[in-house]
């Protein structure tokens, strides 16, 4: 028997898996570091947050739902910070961004 909670869990989990796929494909296929960071910071954060939302609903009213919400908040804060740190380090190191007319810059 399908309830509203089931439908919400499945929808959120499918959305999370989809954005995880976007992040994985982006990191594998995008041409350079800075574009890959977009996939890492945005898609992956959104995917994990959606999936953790599914987990929170599946856990129901419980103390552990608080842990899931904390997890969600921490991921939301730390993941973009990590992406910022990596990209800034690359910029400081003098790695140039990829451009369209840059033939050898891509893969």
């Amino acid at each position: 028997m399908t309830t509203v909670a089931d439908a919400a869990i499945v929808a959120l989990a499918v959305g999370g898996v989809f954005f995880g796929l976007v992040a994985a494909v982006g990191i594998l296929r995008l041409p350079d570091l800075y574009t890959r960071t977009h996939a890492a910071s945005k898609s992956d954060t959104l995917g994990s947050v959606l999936t953790l939302g599914a987990v929170a609903i599946a856990l129901g009213a419980d103390l552990s739902i608080m842990k899931t919400v904390l997890l969600l908040l921490f991921l939301f804060v730390t993941n973009p910070t990590a992406a910022h740190a990596i990209t800034r380090a690359a910029h400081e190191q003098g790695i140039d961004p990829w451009r369209v007319d840059d033939e050898g810059g891509g893969e």
Binding site: A85, R88, G94
Partner: protein, 171 residues
Amino acid sequence: MSDARRSPYVESTIIMTTVRVIAPFVMTYGLFVMFHGAKSPGGGFQGGAIVGALVLMLAFAFGADPTREWVNQRVVVGLLVVGVATFVGIGLATMALRGSFLEYAVIAGAKSSKYAIELIELGIGAIVSGVITSLFFLIDAGFDVEADAADAGGETPEETPGEPSSGEVGS
């Protein structure tokens, strides 16, 4: 390595802010793991490692030298001693109460053995976090390649190698 026109990669505001937000949670969580090891996974070792990682996190965000001034080295070494002393002390206390070494049940009171075990977990946590923190600071301040070469060669180095440049990074 970085271009000359850019300043070196010092503390980034974003990283400092994030660490400032996260650090209280990490500390609380490390203590939670230590205290709550009787009920959920975890215990002294894991909690101590988390608290040690907190100090490392602060050192990365704000620089090692300000953190070294903030976390007193004597306090860290004191933590090690207090941890072992707690463990041995509880063992000896049970012996003083005519039990065997670490026989918690002789301590009077309901759930006494549970509280004794939690105290011991705290002691282990103090040891582990102290070891991690002091290892970090010592390796960080430690064997400078030029200083070691100067020591071995007998040349006089231009700066005293034992003096960490504590004034520079703090600004």
